[in-house]
Symmetry: C3
Subunit: 354 residues, 3 copies
Amino acid sequence: MKRTLEMTRVNANWGEFYKKDISEKLPFFTKEGRLYDCLFAQQFNRRLLTHLFKTADALRDITQNKEGMDYAGGLLSHIRAMLYFVQPSTRTFLSFLNACHILGIRTSEIRDTSTSSEVKGESPEDTVRTFSSYVDMIIMRHPTPGFVEKTAWLMNRTDRPVPIINGGSGKDQHPTQALLDTYTLYRSFNGDMDNKKIVMVGDLKRGRTVRSLTYLMRNFKNISLVFVSPEQFRMEPDILEFLKRHNMPFMETADFMSVMGEADAIYMTRIQDEHDNAGESKKVDYSPFHFKAEHLKLIKKTCVIMHPLPRRHEIEVTVDEDPRAVFWRQERNGMWARAALMAYIFDVDKKIKY
Amino acid sequence: MKRTLEMTRVNANWGEFYKKDISEKLPFFTKEGRLYDCLFAQQFNRRLLTHLFKTADALRDITQNKEGMDYAGGLLSHIRAMLYFVQPSTRTFLSFLNACHILGIRTSEIRDTSTSSEVKGESPEDTVRTFSSYVDMIIMRHPTPGFVEKTAWLMNRTDRPVPIINGGSGKDQHPTQALLDTYTLYRSFNGDMDNKKIVMVGDLKRGRTVRSLTYLMRNFKNISLVFVSPEQFRMEPDILEFLKRHNMPFMETADFMSVMGEADAIYMTRIQDEHDNAGESKKVDYSPFHFKAEHLKLIKKTCVIMHPLPRRHEIEVTVDEDPRAVFWRQERNGMWARAALMAYIFDVDKKIKY
Amino acid sequence: MKRTLEMTRVNANWGEFYKKDISEKLPFFTKEGRLYDCLFAQQFNRRLLTHLFKTADALRDITQNKEGMDYAGGLLSHIRAMLYFVQPSTRTFLSFLNACHILGIRTSEIRDTSTSSEVKGESPEDTVRTFSSYVDMIIMRHPTPGFVEKTAWLMNRTDRPVPIINGGSGKDQHPTQALLDTYTLYRSFNGDMDNKKIVMVGDLKRGRTVRSLTYLMRNFKNISLVFVSPEQFRMEPDILEFLKRHNMPFMETADFMSVMGEADAIYMTRIQDEHDNAGESKKVDYSPFHFKAEHLKLIKKTCVIMHPLPRRHEIEVTVDEDPRAVFWRQERNGMWARAALMAYIFDVDKKIKY
């Protein structure tokens, strides 16, 4: 389980470690060539993604009946997990919890830090180490960027590390959301991921999901991205730089209707007004970035409409009944993709044959 | 799983559907001749009640030892349930949760809406649909009358419905409370439900349990009801109308002592002062509607004393030791009756032979 | 399950019962010669302690692999437990919860009394009796001294008692903490518990763990105790009396460094400022009661450093990496010791052979 002593020594200072490029950090979160801590969307390459998606598909097949469900429920019945959700997120929480249930993992929940020993003056590092004492894995959501990563870093330096899965770390990373989004594309495109045009719509500046999804798109061939947003909420320059560096074509526009007809997938997002500093959101007319029932006739027959949910008014409710609206399925895909990921981390994916 | 397209189309408007008579709605909540969503006390007829009670009895018998408990724990080990309790209710919650545990159902809990995505501006309908994504059944308690029913109605119109069980919907309905009350009568009367006199005592105007229980009593022969209450809290006219319509004899009185001697069961209730508009409760002398130790010698040897609990002072604590005080057993009956109900809904009742 | 009628009658008055000496009370919490309710550290004698420690060790051995873990998970799969934690304590809660998971016990949690029916005016006794209705055991933490004991007393007088385990009752008792502390000594000393010098450091006046641990030390031979504390927070006279009565040598000092070299175990504690009446803690210089990295070279090679956690600054973080720092293992020992205790109470300890 332990990293080499060498590696531990080199990475002994958190401040220095944190500043490194992700590619340099990855070995520290890997074990015997297998992802150990799941922290960054960048940890998923095409081969791993495909394997996880096929595993998720196979798991769904197997569990169509009681016998198969009981088989799945025995795969990780020896594992105990902690869901440590400092930041509220019912959706991600339930998705992970039920993924655990599918695999038979026994779960403990911390959802309210006021019940925690933190009130007694304990350091966050001690608190997390305490939690890890009782379990074999921590699924963690935390508002502070870097905190989940630091937890994994700390754990890997103890004599009893446990895998850490990032369930969302501030504006930072939410790798399993990117995983489920890509899995939804994979299922919608029948596994044919190359040569697609993905249109992302809304508050791209402050949305974490569109950032992570963009990173993952690099794993596929000839993907072109269209960013549709109000002027104030355009995609951040670092992402555009990333695309240029990898020769991935993209365009930016504020005119949703002009591009929706070409899309293979439309990824809608809500306005992230919880990140407002001075009421920016209210100054924006967001309605041009809504998907309305009348748009259904303008998009391809094969185009899928996605949304990370929760939604407000970005997608009209009557759209839900169109078969191209896949956002409800997208939610369920999250549960299955997460189950596949955990099966992989604990090396029982081989018991889910595809 | 799906209702016929025809049925769905006819019932496409919630506002119109909601106003219909319960008897007209029932088919929409039924599947292959079997209750699918459990929403109203009126869904239980004598035949179903008897079947559920015998199933509950058999389940208790089977689970007397570890082998039988493990057998029961395998019956629904492939099912995941969501306990969505927006309104606090420890008792009903624990009863359902442990009923799930008995059958091996894996559970997720939402007990505090502040952790929910509702804070992000999601509609309640979207929230519920999200919850349903991860599970096979929702057990729901909600303060708004009609909301649980609407959830079931919505779910049945999607391509992935799950059964909804009403764990209490405002002043509206609490069908499994009525189920457990009737089950308690069934056990107390050794299965002989006909020709009984039931005395209901207390705040009958605002008590949900006495209303539901009255509805269920129609399923049995020659039941006479006595309503004992302060003038201000008499049973509501709609219930009295219901009794007249079905030729069920009843009387109303404020004189508890004059009627207790004839009772086969006395159903005590507490004053529902949480529903006060202007301190009505404080203006009433509730003590004549208490059951005191000195009353034990006035009631029949076979009369049982029930209470939906929690109690305040309606029943003196020393009464608890009398074998006719069955309210603690009544609580436990709830767990078993709910387990029987869930076994029935998921069609494994046939594996619990009686 | 029931106590003899005789015993129940004699102990019919709680107020009188509570005042009795613990030795007189023990039979009431014992069943067929076996501890039934776990309420006081004084319930553990050397023979039982040794049995529980060997059982805990064996359970750890067995569960090294999936097959063994699944075996353990079947031992109490027929048991349902309630974790009733009115007082927040993440650590103790998680430790018990995961101990339950190891044995397959299905759990219900009450961690927030605001969701409880207490709001409806129910008595605490009724609330607890309700909880007991649905489960086979209650693990209880409560801020009021005596409340956990009273619950056990009440339950034992009903026709359906369930074992009560004390997870901490105010300043009163925390028997499983004493159990895990002693288990940690047992493991650190390779089972050789006699002839040891134990140094306890810090706020001994208000620390519950040092009191309970002292009680348990009486079970071993030739133990000498050293109490290191600020003048204001010296160990209470009743404990010193207890030691004199049992001819156990002890000394008191404020000079930590002068005694650390002789210690076989150093038990560090934090200042209990939550019990301050008028800011007493701030008037004390606590730094002489800290264990610093520089002290490592002053203590025996075999000396272990313990702490009940959470810590503040009593132990410098760099000390954690020294193999003599066993406090993180101490936490994990708690989970296993509690699992052994529950296995014993439910009479499946014989299935965990050592």
